[in-house]
Amino acid sequence: MNTYQSSTKVKTITTVVAIAVIIGIVILIEVLQHNATKTTASIPTSSSNTTMDSSGSTSTSGSSDTASSSTSTYKDGTYTADASYYVPHGNEDIKVTLTVANGVVTDSSIINSESDRDSERYQEDFAAEYKTLVVGKNLADIKLSYVAGASDTTNGFNDAMTQIRTQAQA
């Protein structure tokens, strides 16, 4: 019924390690950046670094919260990190490089010791992640046939919750 692709787990580790290394570098840059009003450092993919979604809010990639800025600026330059990790068929090495100019990541690359189609796709999927602050919209103001949320409770559970609250107040 469902297929689980555990055989691609190994290839995904490459991606995750690469991204962990990049996140490490990126967070470091943002912590030390003085006047970052918009997050422009992003996880590198073959497409553009920052994207806007259709509702107009700015998207950032990466799921970790960006740290607040401090007072020192980060020097322009090129930063690299190497990581090596064991996979069942041997060792994989990755080299991550970021170039910073005017406090912004302007270039990046990841070099795998073993180029891998699958991990490129997962890398792209992972990188294309958005974070935005939500604003609730009234159901009355929008036409929707379906709403997805926590499962509706039945009377049995509702009665139990009411009883508990009553006891708590007594």
Partner: protein, 294 residues
């Protein structure tokens, strides 16, 4: 879709809408099949009836024949257990009871025992399970999704070309013509609102949140390692090809990040944190609202 069925089952409210089939299979025959499917599933896996298979095997370690679907469920949970490093586990029935979410809905917690490792407690194959300690299996994280898929398969076999199964906010959509339905993501903090919408043509969208089942400091989502309910994630929505996968991944995302699961399951996601930010993958295609456009 000209027919709809509304009923309560497995502790929640179901609405099934479908286009009447062209074939000669009558509507009442479909309804009977749906009822029987749900009944059989409930009899096997419900903690809330004392004649269920999970309750009958709980007290005495040993080897038992697996009922229909048990192997598939255990296999799914085994994958999720590995993918989440133990955060999603079926060996959580005792925790649910001790936290208060027992068969009588006492909603009062008592001392909660640790959750043992999967492999230490049970092994299984296609036909049997062997338990080494007394264990109450709980399939709450994926059971509903799995059952939704079963009913979906039934409808497809009856030549239904368009349906939406909505079981308490977990949804399976099938449309031969690929027509989308628009679904709102319920705001866990305010049920009169939605925090976003998305479209669904063919596949499942499952939601998970503690917003409706909560008591003391618990929701029905309990971290097996801390024995407490997570607080930093408010709500999770997952799209996947099947409801079983969407359902189990939605639970998993309370505990792990999406990248941990990628090599096990195919899905897209939206995770609402308690700071009111939502993190979503591009392929979920979430539409959110701005302050101005509200």
């Amino acid at each position: 879709m000209d027919t709809s069925l509304v009923f309560n089952a497995i502790g929640t409210r179901w609405k099934i809408e479908y286009a009447s089939p062209d074939a000669r299979i009558g509507i009442s025959s479909i309804r009977n099949s749906i009822d029987n499917t749900i009944l059989e599933f409930d009899r096997s896996f419900s903690r809330f009836r004392n004649d269920s298979w999970v309750n009958l095997i709980r007290a005495t370690p040993g080897t038992y024949q697996l009922p229909t679907d048990a192997y598939q469920l255990l296999h799914l949970y085994q994958a999720a257990y590995a993918a989440t490093n133990g955060y999603v586990t079926p060996i959580i029935g005792h925790v649910m009871e001790q936290a208060g979410y027992d068969a009588h809905y006492s909603l009062v917690s008592t001392a909660i025992e640790k959750v043992p490792d999967f492999d230490k407690v049970l092994s299984f194959d296609q036909h049997t399970i062997t338990t080494k300690y007394p264990v109450l299996l709980d399939f709450g994280a994926a059971g509903k999704g799995y059952l939704i898929d079963k009913i979906g398969t039934l409808l497809k076999k009856a030549d239904v070309k368009d349906f939406v199964i909505n079981a308490g906010g977990d949804i399976l959509r099938y449309s031969r013509d690929n027509k989308p339905v628009i679904i709102g993501l319920e705001d866990p903090d305010d049920f009169s609102k939605v925090v976003g919408t998305c479209a669904l043509k063919n596949g499942s969208l499952c939601a998970s949140a503690g917003s409706r089942r909560h008591w003391e400091n618990f929701t029905h989502i309990i971290n097996p390692k801390t024995l407490a309910s997570p607080t930093s994630v408010s709500g999770v929505w997952v799209k996947a090809e099947t409801a079983a996968v969407a359902d189990i991944v939605a639970t998993a995302l309370f505990f792990v990040s999406p990248s941990d699961l990628r090599s096990y399951f195919q899905f897209s996601y939206a995770v609402l944190k308690d700071d009111r930010t939502i993190v979503t993958s591009r392929n979920f295609e979430l539409h959110t609202f701005t302050e101005a456009g509200r």
